[in-house]
C-alpha cells in the first residue's frame, strides 16, 4: 500500500492531530512539565545546589513564608507602581503619537521609523546606555533637564526617590512605540464614512474623537496594554542593567527578587512557591482583563 493511499485513509481529525501533535508535545515538554514540576517543588524544601540532599515535603510552608514576608510585599508594591506608571504613560503618549502619525504630512514615514527605533534595541543594551545618560556628571539626560530647569547635580539611579522614575522613563521611552503602532493600526481601521457622517451632523473634532475614534481604538489600546502589562510584570533585564534593583531595594521588582531567590540563593522550593503565586496573580489579572476587554468590544 503506498504512503499516499495510507494518508488518504486518515480522517480530518487525525490529520489535524498530526499537524498540531508536535506543537502540543513541545508545549507539554517545555511549558506544562516545568510548570507541574515547579508546583511539585513548591511543596518541598529543595535546594538545587545542595547536591545529594533529598527534598522533603513541607506542605504549604513555603507559600505561608512567601505571603508573610514583608520584603515580598515591598517588591510587589514596587512592581505594581512600576506597572501602573509605565502603562499609564505608554497609553497616553502612545495614543497621542498614533493620532499624530495618523495624519498625512511630509516626513510622516521617516518620523514613524525613528519613533519605532527604541523598541528594536535589546533591553539589556538600553539599560546599560541609560546608565550613562543618567550619569550626574556627564549624562545627557541630566544636562537636558538642567538646561530647561536648573536642578544642579542630581542622581537618577542613586536616589531612592528618583530611581523608580528612572526605570519608568526608560521603559516608557522604549515601549511607547509598541502601543503607538497597535493604536495606529486601530485608527487606520476606522472607516472614513463615520467621520464624513459626523461632519454632516456637525459634530465637533472633540465629539468625533470621543464618539468615533476612542471607542474604535480602545480595544486595540487595551490589547497593547495587556501585552505590555504581562511583559512589565516579568521585567528583568533592563532594570538589572540600569539599577541592579537598587538603590537598596527601591527598584527590585518581583521578577528580580525571584531570580535572586531561585538562582543566587538557590532556594528552589521557596522560589517555586513564589513563582506559582506570581503566575496565579498574573493569570488571574489577565483573565479578568480579557473579560473586561471583550465586554468593551461587544459594546
Amino acid at each position: 500500500m503506498s504512503v499516499k493511499k495510507k494518508f488518504k485513509g486518515l480522517s480530518d481529525k487525525a490529520v489535524g492531530w498530526l499537524f498540531i501533535g508536535p506543537t502540543v508535545l513541545l508545549l507539554l515538554a517545555i511549558n506544562i512539565y516545568p510548570l507541574v514540576y515547579a508546583i511539585k517543588m513548591s511543596f518541598t524544601n529543595f535546594y538545587a545546589n545542595k547536591i545529594g540532599r533529598e527534598p522533603q515535603f513541607v506542605g504549604l510552608k513555603n507559600y505561608i513564608k512567601v505571603l508573610n514576608k514583608e520584603a515580598i510585599w515591598e517588591k510587589m508594591q514596587v512592581t505594581a507602581s512600576f506597572m501602573f506608571w509605565t502603562l499609564l504613560l505608554q497609553a497616553i503618549i502612545g495614543l497621542g503619537l498614533a493620532l499624530l502619525l495618523n495624519r498625512k504630512f511630509k516626513g510622516n514615514e521617516l518620523l514613524t521609523t525613528l519613533i519605532v527605533l527604541p523598541m528594536m534595541l535589546s533591553p539589556a543594551v538600553v539599560g546599560v546606555f541609560w546608565t550613562y545618560l543618567y550619569n550626574p556628571q556627564v549624562g545627557l539626560f541630566n544636562y537636558v533637564v538642567n538646561f530647561f530647569y536648573d536642578l544642579g547635580s542630581f542622581d537618577m539611579i542613586g536616589s531612592s526617590t528618583l530611581a523608580p522614575w528612572a526605570i519608568v522613563i526608560v521603559d516608557t521611552w522604549m515601549w511607547t512605540p509598541f502601543t503607538m503602532l497597535i493604536c495606529l493600526a486601530g485608527l487606520r481601521s476606522v472607516p472614513n464614512y463615520l467621520y464624513e457622517a459626523a461632519e454632516v451632523d456637525r459634530a465637533s473634532k472633540w465629539q468625533q474623537f470621543i464618539y468615533i475614534t476612542l471607542p474604535s481604538v480602545l480595544p486595540f489600546l487595551l490589547l497593547a496594554l495587556l501585552f505590555r502589562g504581562i511583559e512589565n510584570f516579568k521585567m528583568f533585564d533592563m532594570v538589572v542593567e540600569l539599577t541592579s534593583g537598587g538603590p537598596g531595594s527601591a527598584t527590585e521588582l518581583a521578577s528580580i527578587n525571584l531570580k535572586r531567590e531561585a538562582f543566587e540563593k538557590w532556594k528552589t522550593g521557596y522560589s517555586s512557591a513564589f513563582a506559582v503565586i506570581l503566575f496565579v496573580t498574573i493569570f488571574g489579572f489577565g483573565n479578568v482583563y480579557v473579560k473586561v476587554m471583550n465586554k468593551i468590544k461587544e459594546r
Binding site: 524544601n45 535546594y47 538545587a48 545546589n49 545542595k50 547536591i51 543618567y134 550619569n135 550626574p136 556628571q137 549624562g139 547635580s153 542622581d155 539611579i157 542613586g158 536616589s159 531612592s160 538589572v240 539599577t243 541592579s244 534593583g245 537598587g246 538603590p247 537598596g248 531595594s249 527601591a250 527590585e252 535572586r260 538562582f263 543566587e264 540563593k265 538557590w266 532556594k267
Partner: protein, 434 residues
C-alpha cells in the same frame, strides 16, 4: 592537482595533530592579573606541550557563571581560580578535588606558602589540613591616593591649618574622612574633585567588601568565638553599628556624584579620570594603576587604615582542580608547575600576587614595588566574609540591607545589621547549622 592534494593532506594532518594536542581550560575573572597569568602560562606550555585555554568572566557575572557551572557538574573548566568564599561549597558539594595526596606525592608543602593565604584560600573546614586549592593570588582591599596632590605645598598647609596634622597617609578612618572631605568639591587645576571612590555596588559583593573594611577595623566579629553561628551582639555590636554609620557618612560626604553602584572598575575609572583623591580597591589593580600614572598623576598606596584594630578585607583566590574534569592529570601538572618557587617569582614580577614564602620573605620584596610593603602588611591582618557553602545566600541579604541603608538611606545601621542576622539565621537553620 597533485600539489593541491598534498596541500589538502598537509592541512588535514596538521588539523588532526592540533586537535589531538593536550590542552586544559582554566577559568578565572576577567581582570589585570588574568592577563599576567596568561603571559606566565606560555612558559608552562613551552615546557610541557600542554596548551592552556583561558575563559575569563567579568566580575559581575563571575560567581553566577562559575557556580552554575559547578552545580551543573560542567566539564568546561579543568582548573578554576575561584573566590576564597567558594572553598566551603567546593569542598562540601564535591566540586573541587582534594589535593592532600597530590601535594604529598609531589612534595608540595603548604608551609611554603603564607599561612593567612593557606587558611583563607585552601582549607576546609577552616584551619584543618584538608586542602582543596593552592594559594594562587593573594589580595586584600586597600587604598590608592593622589600623592601628587598631597605634596602640593598650598594644600598641605591649608590642611594642616584646618586639622592640625599633616596631609598624608591616614593613620585611621577618622583621618581618612578628614582628608576625603578636604578634597570633596575642591577645584584643582580647574577641575572639580571629590573625596573617595568607595565600593557601593549592589548586585554581587561590592558594598559588602567595602563596608566590611570599616567593620573589621572597628573590631566587628561575625560570631561568638565560643559559640559558632551565634551572631547576636557580635555582628551587630555597637562597634559594628558605628562602622556602618561611618561608611554611610563617607559615602554621603565624600563620594563623587553618581557613585551609587560602583565597584572595582568604577572606582578605577573615577580615580584614573582625576575625579577623586582616594580610591578603595584590590591590590590586584595596583600594578596597572602604578604603571599608568601619567599627566602629573603620582599614586601612593596604603593598607586599610586601622580604627580600633588593624584589619583588612580579604580578597584573592586559590587554584583548584575541578572534580568533573576529564583531564585532572593535566590540571594537576599545571598546579605542580605553578607551585614552583621560580614560577612564583615570575608570577610576582608579571603583576600577580604570589603567596609563596620564598617570594614574600625575600629581602628585596618590600621595596620591589611601591605597594609591596602595603601588601605584606595587609596579608597579616586580613579577615574574610563567611566561607560557608551557603556563602551566596549569606552575601545577598547583606548586599541588600547595607545598600538600603548606606545608599538608599533607609532605616538605621542597627536595623540593617539586625535584618542581616535574621536572614543569616534562616540560612544556617536551613543548612542544619543551627
Amino acid at each position: 592537482m597533485k600539489k593541491i592534494m598534498i596541500l589538502l593532506f598537509v592541512s588535514l594532518f596538521s588539523f588532526s595533530v592540533n586537535s589531538n594536542a593536550k590542552s586544559i581550560t582554566l577559568g578565572w575573572a576577567a581582570w589585570d592579573p588574568a592577563n599576567a597569568l596568561q603571559e606566565l602560562t606560555k612558559e608552562f606550555t613551552a615546557e610541557t606541550g600542554i596548551e592552556v585555554n583561558f575563559e575569563f568572566v567579568p566580575w559581575p557575572n563571575f560567581a553566577d557563571r562559575m557556580l552554575n557551572e559547578l552545580n551543573n557538574k560542567g566539564k568546561t573548566f579543568d582548573l578554576l581560580i575561584g573566590d576564597s568564599q567558594w572553598i566551603g561549597a567546593g569542598a562540601v558539594y564535591g566540586h573541587y578535588v582534594k589535593l592532600n595526596d597530590f601535594f604529598d606525592k609531589e612534595g608540595i608543602s603548604m608551609n611554603d606558602f603564607s599561612p593567612a593565604t593557606v587558611y583563607a584560600y585552601s582549607t576546609w573546614p577552616k584551619g584543618s589540613k584538608n586542602y582543596y586549592a593552592l594559594p594562587a593570588m593573594g589580595d586584600a582591599l586597600a587604598w590608592a591616593y593622589r600623592k601628587d596632590w598631597f605634596e602640593r605645598p598650598e594644600l598641605k598647609s591649608e590642611f594642616k591649618k584646618k586639622h592640625g596634622y599633616d596631609l598624608g597617609v591616614p593613620a585611621n578612618w577618622n583621618q581618612l574622612y578628614d582628608m576625603c572631605t578636604f578634597f570633596q568639591g575642591r577645584e584643582i587645576d580647574g577641575q572639580k574633585r571629590y573625596g573617595a571612590a568607595i565600593n557601593t555596588e549592589r548586585g554581587s559583593e561590592g558594598i559588602t567588601m567595602g563596608v566590611t573594611a570599616a567593620m573589621y577595623a572597628w573590631g566587628m566579629e561575625y560570631e561568638n568565638p565560643n559559640k559558632p553561628y551565634d551572631m547576636e551582639g557580635y555582628f551587630n555590636s555597637p562597634q559594628a553599628v558605628e562602622a556602618v554609620e561611618f561608611y554611610r557618612k563617607l559615602y554621603e560626604d565624600c563620594a563623587p556624584p553618581g557613585h551609587s553602584d560602583a565597584y572595582m572598575v568604577a572606582n578605577l575609572d573615577a580615580y584614573k579620570s582625576g575625579q577623586v583623591a582616594f580610591q578603595m580597591n584590590w591590590y590586584a589593580f595596583w600594578p596597572g594603576v602604578s604603571k599608568e600614572d601619567s599627566g602629573g598623576r603620582v599614586s601612593g598606596f596604603f593598607a586599610n587604615p586601622k580604627q580600633n584594630v588593624a584589619a583588612a578585607t580579604l580578597g584573592g583566590q586559590g587554584i583548584s582542580v575541578v572534580k568533573y574534569s576529564d583531564k585532572q592529570d593535566l590540571a594537576l601538572e599545571y598546579i605542580k608547575w605553578f607551585a614552583r618557587p621560580d614560577v612564583q617569582q615570575k608570577w610576582w614580577d608579571l603583576g600577580g600576587y604570589s603567596c609563596h614564602n620564598d617570594v614574600l620573605n625575600s629581602p628585596s620584596f618590600p621595596t620591589s614595588t611601591v605597594y609591596a610593603q602595603g601588601f605584606l602588611d595587609s596579608m597579616g591582618i586580613v579577615k574574610d566574609f563567611w566561607q560557608e557553602p551557603t556563602f551566596v545566600e549569606l552575601m545577598l541579604p547583606m548586599q541588600e540591607a547595607i545598600h538600603d541603608y548606606v545608599v538608599n538611606g533607609k532605616g538605621t545601621a542597627k536595623e540593617a545589621l539586625d535584618k542581616i542576622i535574621e536572614e543569616w539565621v534562616e540560612v544556617f537553620e536551613a543548612d542544619g547549622k543551627l
